[in-house]
Amino acid sequence: MKAWILLSAFNIFVGGVAHAAPFVDMDYVHAVKSGGDTTIMIKGESIRAFRNPATNLTEEEIARHLTGDALFERNFSDDASRFDHGLGPVFNNTSCNACHSKDGRGALPVILPGQEWVQLRQNESIFLRISIEDGIQRPKTAQNRWGAPVAVPGFSDQLFHLGSMGVRKDLPGAGQAQVWMKYDKSTFTYPDGSVVQLRKPVFKITAAYDEYFDSVTGETKSRLYEKDVKTSPRMGTPMIGLGLLEAIKESDILALAARDLSAEGVKGSVNWVFDIEKAMANDPYPVSMGRFGLKNNTPSVLHQSLGALRGDIGVTNYAFPMESIFGTALFESFVQDPTVPAPLEASDQVANDLVFYSQTLAVPSRRNVTEAEVIRGAQIFHQVSCTSCHQPSFVTGPHKIAAFSNQKIYPYTDMLLHDMGDGLADGRQDFDANGRQWKTRPLWGMGHTHTINPRAGFLHDGRARTVEEAILWHGGEGEYSKNKFVNLPKADRSALIQFIRSL
């Protein structure tokens, strides 16, 4: 009976949208092992759902993963006499785990009733990227760091709101500036009259370290407050399945970018980004396909993790040996002699174990796949063309960790950038990604999100409290599917959400 229903659904959908969409393997409707042989089988919910190593690692690899696990939770210290030295001098958090709590999604800071603005402190899972730009895309050259965002003079390409004691004599514990957040609230009304409250975090920056009072204009000024400075928030994302995403064949992603989905207004493009591994190997053109970061601005787990270790926590390592704020006035006022190179803070072993850990967290299995509502929701998922961008499945190519090679996986992402419309736009370029584009988020593991962190937020800045809110924020290339979703009967909308919760 079930097979018959599936077959007819398959025929209807493939037949119905064949003119627009290429082949989508409908086996995802029933597939349980989202990460192929790496999948951890989980029946219920628990906060430990994202905390397991891929199940097909060797014993030696599991031991290495566990070493990395302890490092992921390590609170780095700025005390040079300690074994865990390396934090700062400026940073956004003190451990990896602080932003990727239990390897899951972060949450926005709590704004208590009666408060308007809340200051970002330590223990938040969000920070701001910053850069200056003139809106002109240039060819990638060594001079422009292969198309990377242009650092704000005197700052970096990331705003560090925390600092070691002594970095800011005026504000102990503060970094380059203080960051504040409040919500812009709005409502969305469905054609059937149901209303959903939406919220979007907005940020303001105060107390920049270079701030001064301009007595001529009567304004408080900082390079950071100039109009050409672009800022964009980033929320900590789940750590599962990253090695598998790395193993997806580049040709498969390029094929998805080449599809003609113009009937749905969907395009999908690749971000070609600086690749630290190629640079370290003296490749004359160190540029690769971007796969990680909310705008695909890094090509590998190594580049992403070690960049975050140096950036977010301020721990220098072999891939990123200089402090993020090297060469700025703040740095020079803090260190005794800025011309003397400091030794690396993370040993190569620590750096590599962290990368290995980040590559090897298991994707949990799907649950409730035999529930009728879930099966119906899976079919609606395709019917409203979510699958155009949230590509259900791939077969991975070779990976240096054998466990990830040649696996049938169900990540629900095409690994591409899409224009997501005004509502989500940050107006900030990042290599080839423009200010309206974001990478399609993988949906695997989604159903565990709120068990792991009841306040976890979806989308790049964590604004969406529920899957429904996240869908409603889709615009631009996501408009077509969103409109189909909002016009569904309420029962069908909840079935679709129940399917996503089964992932």
């Binding site: 919910e45 609170n75 210290s77 003190t94 962190n453 009841p454």
Partner: protein, 361 residues
């Protein structure tokens, strides 16, 4: 074999139906009478600690220092006894790091104490999590823990009192917030959100966190497994290092007060509470009642293993005085610690391989 065992258990169960607790009864009891009760105790002990610190600051006698130290130890009990259930608001509201980040950043703390800055709760709130909470208070009340676990009251400076008052006030505030999130409102941004105790005790397909009673039971079991693993392979193994020469005092939790072994014991006490449903004087069904339905011998064996782990941890205490941080620098202390670690790992394996599967029987 398994089927046979299951059948025998099923028969036993039929016979005992009248007394056997249902999953829902277990979940209710554990949620309300263990978890919520622990958080309420934590908030009330933290309020006592704050009062004791204020008394000490106003009148810095040895007796008042001893009372404040006792109040710190008393607050530590419910907190460490909550570590088998670090799910829900303790994490989503970011409370755990505010209470219990370790190691403490002594370098930065000393630099703040040397500055001329007025120390207020808001000032400390803006500092890092490794400059507030239990271990900051511990360092200020007990000293550096190197050769002794206390210091004379006269060693406390005016600046240290300011810092102590601010950071204990924050500890009281954060623990009250945590208790409130379980009893009344788990999401302060949504006043209609109930206490988390109501959420976790009412699982169902539409519950956004727990879709079935099995899911909550799994959370309970995974929570017990999580702290067993952390005590064995983090809290104890990390400071021990590979051998006596690589033992590292800087990795010991609660090194200043020499309270580590009590911390670890209370961590395992939280496993006992979830498992048996016993918390302080309250008794009721815990996960054991579920295991009993399937395999009464297993149910009793697990309880014995938990109690044994607690005893083995206490047995690490050096005869000549000191605590875990001292024991790991002696060969016989390390041997006793290894025995406890092995028992904890064995219990973890029992939970994973034998207790967890009973959820599906």
């Amino acid at each position: 074999m398994k089927a046979l065992k299951l059948m025998a258990a099923a028969l036993a169960f039929v016979g005992a139906t009248a007394q056997a607790a249902t999953n829902q009864e277990i979940i209710n009891h554990v949620s309300y009478n263990v978890i919520l009760a622990t958080y309420n105790d934590l908030a009330s002990q933290a309020a006592n600690l704050n009062a004791a610190v204020n008394t000490l600051a106003a009148n810095p006698t040895e007796a008042n220092l001893a009372k404040a130290q006792d109040a710190w130890r008393a607050t530590r009990i419910p907190w460490e006894s909550s570590e088998a259930f670090l799910f829900g608001p303790v994490d989503s509201l970011g409370i755990d790091p505010l209470l219990d980040t370790w190691p403490l950043n002594i370098l930065d703390l000393d630099s703040v104490l040397k500055s001329n800055r007025a120390i207020t709760t808001d000032f400390v709130r803006a500092l890092g999590t490794n400059l507030q909470g239990f271990h900051t208070i511990e360092y200020l009340l007990f000293g550096d823990g190197k050769s002794a676990n206390t210091k004379p009251a006269s060693a406390l400076t005016a600046k240290q009192f300011e810092y102590l008052k601010a950071t204990t006030a924050l500890l009281a505030e954060n623990t009250a917030y945590l208790a409130n999130s379980w009893s009344k409102n788990y999401d302060p941004e949504n006043p209609s959100a109930p206490g988390y105790v109501q959420v976790i005790s009412a699982p169902g397909f539409d519950n956004p966190f727990y879709s079935s009673d099995r899911a909550v039971m799994e959370e309970f079991v995974q929570g017990m497994m999580g702290i067993l693993d952390e005590v064995a392979n983090g809290k104890m193994s990390d400071p021990m290092g590979a051998d006596i020469n690589s033992a590292n005092m800087a990795l010991v939790e609660s090194p200043f007060s020499w309270n580590s072994l009590n911390d670890f014991t209370n961590n395992i006490r939280s496993v006992y509470s979830i498992y048996t449903g016993h918390y302080r004087s309250t008794k009721g069904p815990g996960v054991k009642a579920l295991v009993e339905r399937v395999d009464a011998a297993l149910a009793a064996r697990v309880e014995g293993e938990i109690l044994n782990c607690m005893q083995l941890i206490q047995a690490i205490r050096p005869a000549g005085g000191g605590d875990f941080g001292q024991a790991i620098f002696t060969h016989d202390g390390r041997a006793r610690a290894q025995k406890a670690i092995d028992a904890l790992n064995a219990l973890h394996a029992t939970m994973e391989n034998e207790v967890l599967p009973t959820l599906d029987m």
